[in-house]
């Protein structure tokens, strides 16, 4: 469709005209005219909603909201075209079969071996060995080898040594969806552990001997402690309501030596609505401070984030300080339980705060334990009531921790944002389906690529420059402040207003420091070479010494590091009063832009996420580029950055 206008959300005056293409996998908007022919790529799987608005004199507006919080506003001149686009997108955005998803057509041109290597990057067996199991107290159980006991669990689960197959199976029959208590994290130092399960089918009075034995076994696996905590992450009211349906929570009288604790994290429906409300606030056009703060409060989002953090803090404290094991569950044990276990593990174990460790953590607590990625993130067309930002909340908790402990994490904010993006993008096979069983049946590992390998390859982009493996913050347990700490939880504009670049700090401290560190490394190398040369010279004293050194010009170019200064050069609309003022000359502003530092110096991030900064219009940049899987566009278009070539080559 030609002559489509892409509107700038912050300013209606800034719109660009271009051509809209629909491919099998992407929506692509290519700007007319300008030399750069800026492109905006959106994966169909990222589309969360499409809204056709009332036709106006200029055309028919189409609003596309994406799951990575991008909002695209198009105006299509012909109503009929608009309708066609709308209908096609609705169909394309809601695939019904896994095979339609992008990861099955996405081909980064890696050979079979490389792909297999990629999938081996994160190995859970290795992880359990790292934690120190199996050992005297914990063993691997094959009771679920054919998914016979629990189809949403992995085949290999770690259970207390004293828990026999009989106990496990018995316990599983007393738990929702047969998700019996299994090991999530084991603390080598003091034998305390975090176990996870679903709610017991206790109703008002039912008991199960095997389940009671199972909890007993977990306690015994930690000989230093004479009780365990059972943490129900639901609000008490919800848990009680479940009793009427034959489910519920553990009765302290029936289980010996447990301490039962509710931690009120709301359910997926509340969270979905909360996010919805917060996004409405983010989308407001020029909101006042009160609108924004009031809306943020009203959405309850930060309150929910804090509830999850509080649960994680409670568990980490129990394990690290009291040395007490904890069993965590919610209803089915695949949403809140996953959040809380992983937040607690992150605080407890510095390994999970490294890049590799974080991948392992997601693979362990989310992927292997059957977090329903397909349902929660709406990869295939399904029940909208199943959709909820569960892992988004976990990712935000990590960010909130990073804000409080700036030196504790090996990775940076960009790493988190890219993981969030790919959970929805379906470009890699990691997060497909709802369980390990389904993924095996689909032969995901043979047919798709692993995100972790892709992120690992580009790990230089994701490093936190402040991280040092021997820094005090990278050792041991993190202790976030408990009270009063409300003000520590902040709105994450880097995520939820991710595509409104104009709202973010215009210069990135992280990028600056990374560039400095890179230079430092080069200096170190040069220093070594120079010293060597000097030594040789001094030794030989004569001129036959011909050590060639890399002649590097290390002179600092001014502005080498400063990123995104171009944005600095366009004022926002500070006042509407100025509109009518006639004296504005069109050429103004060019002068500033000419001073801009070259974009090449910018560390390019993941190519499908990197935004090309438009130096003239500055304030906002909607471009979301993607490796052209559809192959519908000629690749000689200018502006492709080098990273992208990796995907296009061949």
């Amino acid at each position: 469709v030609e002559n489509v206008r892409l509107l700038d959300r912050l300013s209606s005056r800034r719109a660009v005209v271009g051509t809209l293409y629909l491919t099998a996998t992407h929506v692509i908007f290519v700007e007319n005219g300008s030399e750069t022919r800026k492109e905006t790529w959106v994966l169909h799987s990222q589309i969360s909603s499409i809204e056709k608005q009332a036709t106006t004199a200029t055309g028919c507006p189409l609003l596309i909201r994406c799951k990575n919080f991008q909002v695209i506003q198009l105006v299509i001149p012909q109503e009929r075209d608009c309708h066609d686009v709308y209908i096609s997108l609705i169909r394309l955005a809601r695939p019904v079969k896994y095979e339609e998803l992008y990861c099955f057509s996405f081909n980064p041109k890696l050979d079979k071996e490389e792909r297999e290597q990629g999938w081996k990057l994160v190995d859970l067996n290795e992880e359990y060995t790292r934690m120190g199991v199996p050992n005297n107290y914990w063993q691997i159980s094959d009771v679920n080898r054919d998914y016979g006991v629990c189809d949403s669990y992995p085949t290999e689960v770690y259970v207390p040594k004293s828990a026999t197959a009989h106990i496990i199976v018995g316990s599983s029959k007393f738990r929702s969806r047969r998700r019996f208590p299994a090991l999530s994290y084991y603390c080598k130092g003091n034998n305390a552990s975090i176990c996870r399960s679903s709610q017991p089918l206790s109703g008002f009075s039912a008991r199960c001997l095997e389940d009671e034995q199972m909890l007993q076994a977990i306690r015994k696996a930690n000989p230093g402690s004479d009780f365990i905590y059972v943490v129900d992450t639901r609000p008490k009211l919800n848990a009680m309501a479940n009793r009427a349906a034959g489910k519920g929570y553990e009765n302290e009288d029936n289980y010996s030596n447990i301490k039962f604790q509710f931690i009120g994290i709301e359910n997926i429906h509340v969270m979905r609505n909360s996010l919805q409300k917060m996004l409405e606030v983010c989308e407001l056009k020029s909101p006042s401070m009160s609108d924004f703060l009031w809306g943020l409060e009203n959405s309850g989002w930060l309150k929910h984030i804090k509830a999850i953090m509080d649960a994680g803090i409670f568990i980490a404290k129990a394990v690290a300080e009291e040395g007490v094991s904890v069993l965590v569950h919610c209803s089915d044990g695949w949403d809140r339980t996953a959040q809380v276990c992983s937040v607690a593990s992150l605080q407890l174990d510095p390994y999970y705060r490294t890049m590799k460790g974080f991948m392992v953590l997601i693979e362990k607590d989310w992927v292997s334990f059957g977090h329903k990625f397909n349902h929660r993130y709406g990869n295939l067309d399904g029940d909208p009531k199943e959709i909820s930002p569960v892992i988004d909340q976990f990712i935000e908790c990590v960010w909130q921790l990073m804000e409080q402990f700036p030196c504790a994490f090996e990775f940076n904010e960009r790493f988190l944002i890219h993981i969030q993006h790919h959970i929805y993008s379906c470009q890699f096979g990691n997060f497909l389906c709802n369980s390990q069983k389904e993924r095996r049946e689909l032969k995901i590992k043979e047919r798709t690529y692993s995100l972790w390998a892709h992120l690992w390859k580009n790990r230089a982009d994701y490093l936190n420059p402040l991280y040092k493996s021997d820094h005090s913050q990278t050792q041991g347990t993190l202790h976030p402040q408990i009270a009063p700490c409300n003000f520590l939880y902040k709105f994450w504009s880097g995520m939820y207003n991710r595509f409104e670049k104009g709202l973010h700090p215009r210069q990135s401290v992280t990028d600056y420091l990374m560039a400095v560190k890179e230079e430092t490394q080069q200096l170190e190398e040069e220093l070594e070479i120079l010293q060597e040369r000097l030594a040789n010279l001094q030794k030989s004293q004569s001129g036959d010494n011909k050590v060639k050194s890399k002649q590097q010009d290390r002179s600092k170019q001014s502005g080498l590091y400063t990123s995104n200064n171009s944005l600095a050069n366009t004022p926002q609309e500070y006042s509407h009063d100025l509109k009518s003022f006639p004296s504005r000359s069109p050429s103004q502003g060019d002068e500033d832009s000419a001073l801009i530092l070259t974009q090449d110096n910018l560390k390019s991030s993941d190519p499908d996420l990197s935004a090309n900064s438009d130096q003239e219009s500055g304030v906002e940049d909607l471009s979301c580029r993607s490796p052209s899987g559809g192959g519908c566009l000629p690749s000689e278009d200018s502006g492709k950055d080098s990273d992208e070539a990796v995907f296009l080559a061949g």
Binding site: S288, G502, V509, Y512, L523, L537, G559, A568, S575, S583
Partner: protein
């Protein structure tokens, strides 16, 4: 008056000091004429706390049996608690502190008694002279002149002795214009934009009154700053209705008929008591101990503090936009022209002028646009957020300005030579200081008090190389561009360095700051090493060549 008269109990032992995030410390409390001094008795790690009486905003006392407790709330927003055994001692100490922290005579303030322990390398009182500014200006334009019409402070008591005005306007005209402007604050040059020759002027409101009085000289003065055929903007920091009401009291605004080349924009910036209330509410919210997330956000919202920040930044950006983008001259004023006017003109300069983002440049800006421009520091900063007195002239006007600078700094972390600490120190010294810089309400008062002779300047201390290194931003790379901040709510954050400074754990953030410094320091060291080696090698190689040749 002898301070000794006010000190009934100069010393108390076995006093316990409580501070958030610190274990309680036991020690001795001493009162002197200007300080409260607490020193712990632990010999291994003796700790001393020196608190200026003038930093104390409010004091509360309560008793449990014979153990008295004094809660001291400071103007820098810190709260400390002292447990003092003995009812009489406690009462004596509390009343002494109360008396000493509310001395009403300026000449009894600490700056008049303070003797610096450092060698003065440069007298800060003469570091920033308007003559120097004018010299810089003269190198790019000859359209302006330095006027000493206010030499005796008789034309305008709140102006400095020297001002910069258009060359074509003589002192006689200035005297007439002064009569037409509130408090005699006739339009003067605040900033000259070298890039396009546009000027930013500031003044107070014109005294048009209800009958629309006009002043030809005033019109001529401000028109002298326009290029032929171009128009200018008047940015009035009051909403239109307020400006209209002001006419009844003799004030007013520039009417189109008399200023046809000027377009008026009203950008409302909140004033005195409303700001003070907002400040008090915000600090209350930050000190709230409850655990409820919702309450925090609604209290933050209800304080309206960030709204004021947003309004102020927007107005400053607008002024900068008119100058840089529209190529127009700008006149800024509110009513008196001593508060919101200065906020707007100084922030616009931060945006437009790279020099103001350096340490010396910023100090010069504070001197020029705040101290010399007659912001009544002594009135505005008499009390901070804990005071119960609530005088209507108290207002955190300067703090708001500093916070806006911080907001821009946060968005452009590599474009400022100074760091956050620099801004925090300025905030502290504006409210309580051993230096005379922020005493008095105008240059006139400072001259009468003979401050330059009797007190030490803050700049003399801050600009010492040892101190300067504490204020430098390691990430700084000179950026000659105009920097346009975002004023969207998502882009503005609470200034934790001020408001949560005493009630959040700062260890991890400080460690991060240290790490940033280390990375850059190490890089610079390596660079120096490499350069030295290169030079050495080059020398040796040339020597070799010389040896080889013969």
């Amino acid at each position: 008056m002898e301070f000794a008269e006010l000190i009934k109990t100069p010393r108390a032992d076995n006093v316990a000091l409580h501070r958030p995030f610190h274990a309680a410390v036991e020690g001795t409390l001493c009162l002197t004429g200007h300080h409260l001094i607490f020193s712990s008795r632990r010999h291994d790690n003796a700790e001393e706390l020196w608190l200026l009486h003038s930093n104390i905003d409010s004091i509360e006392k309560r008793f449990v049996g014979s153990l008295g407790t004094i809660v001291i709330k400071c103007k820098d927003l810190r709260i400390i608690q002292l447990d003092i055994p003995g009812m009489e001692e406690c009462l004596n100490i509390a009343s002494s502190i109360e008396a000493l922290s509310t001395l009403d005579s300026v000449t009894l303030m600490y700056p008049f008694f303070y003797r610096p322990m450092f060698e003065v390398l440069e007298d800060g009182w003469s570091s920033f002279q308007l003559e120097h500014e004018f010299e810089l200006l003269s190198s790019v334009t000859n359209e302006w002149r330095l006027s000493c019409v206010n030499k005796e402070f008789s034309v305008c008591p709140s102006y400095p002795a020297l001002v910069i005005v258009p060359k074509s306007v003589d002192d006689e005209a200035l005297r007439k214009v002064a009569l037409f402007r509130h408090g005699g604050r006739f339009p003067v040059l605040s900033y000259y934009h070298k890039k396009n020759g546009m000027a930013m002027l500031r003044s107070s409101q014109p005294l048009t009154g209800t009958n629309g009085r006009r002043c030809k000289e005033d019109e001529k003065l401000i028109n002298a700053t326009l290029r032929s055929g171009r128009r200018g903007f008047v940015i009035d920091t009051r909403p239109l209705p307020v400006a209209q009401q002001a006419r009844a009291k003799g004030g007013g605004f520039e009417q189109e008929v008399h200023y046809p080349q000027w377009r008026r924009i009203h950008k409302y910036i909140e004033r005195f008591n409303i700001l003070q209330e907002s400040f008090i509410k915000l600090v209350e919210a930050c000190n709230d101990q409850s655990h409820n997330m919702d309450r925090w956000l609604s209290k933050l919202e209800a304080s309206n503090w960030l709204t004021h920040i947003k309004e102020l930044l927007t107005a400053a950006c607008l002024a900068a936009q008119c100058i840089d983008r529209e190529g127009a001259s700008v006149l800024v004023h509110g009513s008196e022209g001593t508060d919101s006017t200065l906020q707007v003109t100084s922030l616009a300069q931060i945006i437009l002028d790279p020099r103001c983002r350096t340490i010396r440049g910023f100090e010069a800006l504070v001197v020029r646009e705040w101290l010399q421009a007659g912001h009544p520091f002594q009135q505005r900063c008499a009390q901070s957020a804990y005071s119960n007195s609530k005088q209507k002239w108290e207002a955190p006007v300067f703090l708001l300005f500093l916070e806006c600078v911080w907001q821009i700094h946060r968005q452009f972390p590599c474009s400022f030579e100074f760091n956050e600490q620099f801004l925090i120190v300025l905030f502290e010294h504006a409210y309580a200081s051993q230096f005379g810089t922020f005493l008095g309400n105008s240059e006139h008062e400072r001259a009468k008090l003979k401050l330059p002779h009797k007190t030490m300047s803050l700049w003399s201390w801050m600009n010492r190389p040892d101190e300067l290194s504490r204020f430098q931003n390691p990430l700084y790379e000179a950026n000659s561009l105009v920097i346009w901040p975002s004023v969207a709510p998502q882009s503005l954050q609470l200034w934790e360095g001020i408001f949560l400074r005493w009630n959040r754990p700062s260890k991890f953030l400080e460690e991060a700051e240290e790490e940033r410094m280390n990375i850059i320091k190490y890089n610079k060291e390596l660079q120096a090493k490499v350069n030295a080696l290169r030079r050495q090698l080059a020398e040796m190689e040339t020597n070799e060549l010389v040896q080889e040749e013969p």
